[in-house]
Structures are given as C-alpha cells and as structure tokens.
C-alpha cells in the first residue's frame, strides 16, 4: 500500500520547492510585521479618521477567510490594471491577513508598557515620535517576540492555500505529481511530514522562549 520507492523518488521534487514555500512565509511575515505595526499605531491615534479605518480593516480582514482574500487580490486587481504574479498576490494576501493578527500582538505589547513611561517621556519633553521610537516600542516589542514567532509558524502552515491560485509551492507540486502517478497517499503524507518536521522544532523553540520570558 505504501510505496517507499515512489516516496523516495519524489522527495527531491518536493524539497526543491521548499525554498519557495519558505520564501513566501518570510516575505508574507515581513509584510505583516510592518503593516501590523502601522495598524497598531493607527488604531491608537487620537484622530478618529485615522483610528477608524485601521480598526475597521482589522475587524473585517480578521473575520473573513484568507482563501477568499487570496482570490480577491488575484482576480480583482488585474481588472484595475494591476497585474501581479500569483506568488506576489498570494504573499500580499498572506501578509495583509496576518498583519491584523500582529497588530493585536503589538497592541498588547504597547498596553503592557507602564503608564509611567509615557509620563516620564512627557516630563523629559520628548517629541511624540521620540517617545514611540526611543521609549515605548523598545519596551513593547521584545516581550511579543515569542507570539510573533508563533504567527510565523502559523503563516508557514497557511502557504498551501497559495496552491489555489497555482503558486508552485509544496501542495501544488504534490497535486501535479499526483495527477500523473495517483499516489496521493505517499505524496500528501510526505507533505504533512515535511510540515511537521519543519514547524514542530520551531514551535518548541517558541515555547522555550515563552517560558524564559515568563520567568523574567
């Protein structure tokens, strides 16, 4: 039932597209780290016209499926003259979707900073951007790093969704191979194992970091 020879023979094909999967993960993560911070800062703004769009975006994007968002970007943008590759579309969707999660992570980190830090910054006459960059964020971000690491792993596990718009990542490659051999048992099991082998040690790392942080 389980064909070892076949499994071994397709493993190189699968490993070959692993870099693409990892690249999608990291680029998407980069987008969400930057855009998530922007959203977090915007939703703390004192100006309603800045605060409201950020909050609405977070609420809406968080509560709707990533897969539909991927299709949205892939099919709708070209209608307005923006043609991007499937990979780019997928990575942007992934990044935007998780930026809403990361904005919450930033928010909790910012809220955890002692109120006295703001008051001290005012007392020292720091400007607003100085307060954020020199005082608040350096304290708010480091404690959130394990949680962010968690989201990096989550995003890695979401990359198979990109196969829906034919990005040649792991699942797409397996589908392609399967259409010739029909050996889906080997192919999909291998993919599952690959994900587990890569994500499990990372999540152990994150848990260790969380524990260390909790002890501090």
């Amino acid at each position: 039932m389980w064909d070892w020879d076949y499994a071994i023979s397709v493993l190189p094909d699968l490993l070959k597209v692993l870099p693409l999967t990892v690249a999608a993960t990291f680029i998407g993560f980069g987008i969400s780290v930057v855009f998530g911070l922007l959203l977090a800062l915007m939703s703390r703004s004192s100006i309603k016209m800045v605060r409201f769009p950020a909050k609405a975006f977070v609420e809406f994007v968080r509560n709707t499926p990533l897969l539909v968002q991927i299709f949205f970007i892939y099919f709708v943008l070209p209608l307005y003259g923006i043609s991007l590759s499937a990979f780019t579309c997928g990575v942007i969707a992934l990044g935007l979707h998780y930026s809403t999660y990361l904005s919450e992570v930033y928010r909790s980190g910012i809220e955890a900073v002692d109120k006295g830090q703001w008051e001290a910054s005012t007392a020292l006459n720091f400007s607003k951007s100085q307060t954020w960059l020199r005082v608040i964020l350096p304290q708010a971000v480091p404690p959130t790093i394990p949680v962010m690491g968690n989201y990096l792993i989550v995003m890695f596990k979401e990359t198979p969704l990109l196969s829906a718009i034919s990005v040649g990542e792991l699942l797409m490659t397996a589908k392609g191979l399967g259409s010739m051999s029909f050996k889906y048992v080997e192919l999909y099991t291998l993919i599952g194992v690959l994900f587990l082998v890569l994500s499990y040690p990372c999540s152990l790392l994150v848990r260790a970091a969380e524990k260390r942080l909790a002890r501090k």
Partner: protein, 219 residues
C-alpha cells in the same frame, strides 16, 4: 446597476452560505467534543493516554489544515479502502484540526483553576470525578469561552478550504457565479467577504451573550 446584480447573485450565494453554516456546525460539534476528550486526556494520570493525546495535538497543529483536508479526502480512503464524501472529509478535517487547538484551550483553562479549588474539594471529600465535573470544569469553562469564540471564527474561515475539494459552499457558489459574470468579479468577491463577515459577527455576538450569562456572580 449593481443592485440588480446583487439581487441576481444573492440566492445562489445564500444557498452556498447555508452549506457553509452546515459544515461549520457539524465541525464545531466534532471539534468541541474532541477538544474535551483530548484536553482531559492530556491531564490523565496514565502516561500512555497523555502521550497519545499529545501526539494527536502536535501532529494536527504541526501540519497544515489544507494538507490534512487533502490527505483525508484523497489519501485516507485509499489507505483504509473506504469511501468518504467530500462533506465527511471536510467535517473530519476541520473537526480534527480545531479539536487539537481546542484541546489546548481546555487543558490550559483547567490548569488555570487555582489549586485551592481542588484542595477544598478534596477536603469536602468529593470524588475525583465530582471534583472535575462540579468544581473545576464549571470554572474552567468560563475562561475557555473567549478562546473558543476565537476558534469558532477560525473554523468558520477554515470552511472556505473545502471549496478546494469541490463542496458547493459559499466560496464555491461565488466562484461559480464568477465564471458566468467575469465583469462582476469585484462585486462577487466583495459580497462573499461581507457574507462571511456577517456570519462571523453573528457568532461573535452569540459567544459574547453566553459569556455574559455565565459570568454571573464573578467579580
């Protein structure tokens, strides 16, 4: 102009939404039951039961939902020589996946109940079963609710994946409409997102109501 299209599209989208709701509800029940079984099993005094539960949780959390869905739909029937409908495969995958996440919620909420509660129930001579059933779980469930609420939304969003194994749910209905109305792509996807959002909003509201109801008497 787009009002006409909305009126035209809505019936098929709502039919799709009904299927989405159906899958969501079945999967929620499956995930909920599995959450408690696996969550309690991870606190068992028998090492072997703890190990099996932990293996289930780590494997399901360590691999991708879509890969699990494909594995269950395409590989499992071959391995076991059984027939699975797309619907069964979808519910199984969603239930198993979110059950694994839910079990972590159950476990951590039980562990978060203060030790004094267990001690007081020992002092009052409750049996181990009674301690869990009447003292620990009722308190743990309160702290589970917000996390379960989040998981419920994640599960709802996850149901869109079963489109890829050709279940005619909401996303499928939208994609179908799109093939005949290419020019209305933007409207169709916007409608899809709004419908998902409305369902999620309803779920959030329900969970919040339940939360308020069970938080009676707590400071």
């Amino acid at each position: 102009m787009s009002i006409e299209y909305i009126v035209e599209f809505m019936p098929s989208l709502l039919r799709g939404a009904a299927v989405t709701l159906e899958i969501t509800l079945y999967s929620l029940v499956a995930a909920f039951v599995l959450s408690f079984i696996a969550g309690l099993a991870r606190l068992s005094k028998w090492r072997i039961i703890r190990f099996i539960a932990a293996a289930y949780v780590e494997v399901l959390r360590g691999t991708s939902l879509l890969v699990q869905l494909f594995w269950i739909y395409f590989a499992l029937p071959v391995l076991l020589d059984i027939n699975l409908t797309a619907m069964q495969a979808g519910v199984l995958a969603l239930g198993l996946n979110y059950g694994a996440y839910g079990s972590e919620v159950v476990r951590s909420s039980i562990l978060a109940v203060p030790k004094g509660q267990t001690e007081a129930s020992i002092a009052l001579n409750f049996t181990p079963y009674q301690r869990m059933r009447y003292i620990i779980l009722p308190q743990a469930i309160r702290s589970m609710l917000p996390s379960f609420g989040n998981l419920q939304i994640e599960l709802l969003k996850g149901t869109s994946l079963v489109y890829l194994i050709t279940i005619t749910e909401l996303l499928y209905a939208g994609m179908q409409l799109r093939t005949y109305n290419m020019s209305q792509t933007t409207l169709i996807f916007t409608l899809l997102l709004v419908i998902y959002f409305v369902i999620a909003f309803a779920f959030n509201t329900i969970i919040r109501l339940i939360e308020r109801k069970v938080s009676v008497g707590r400071s």
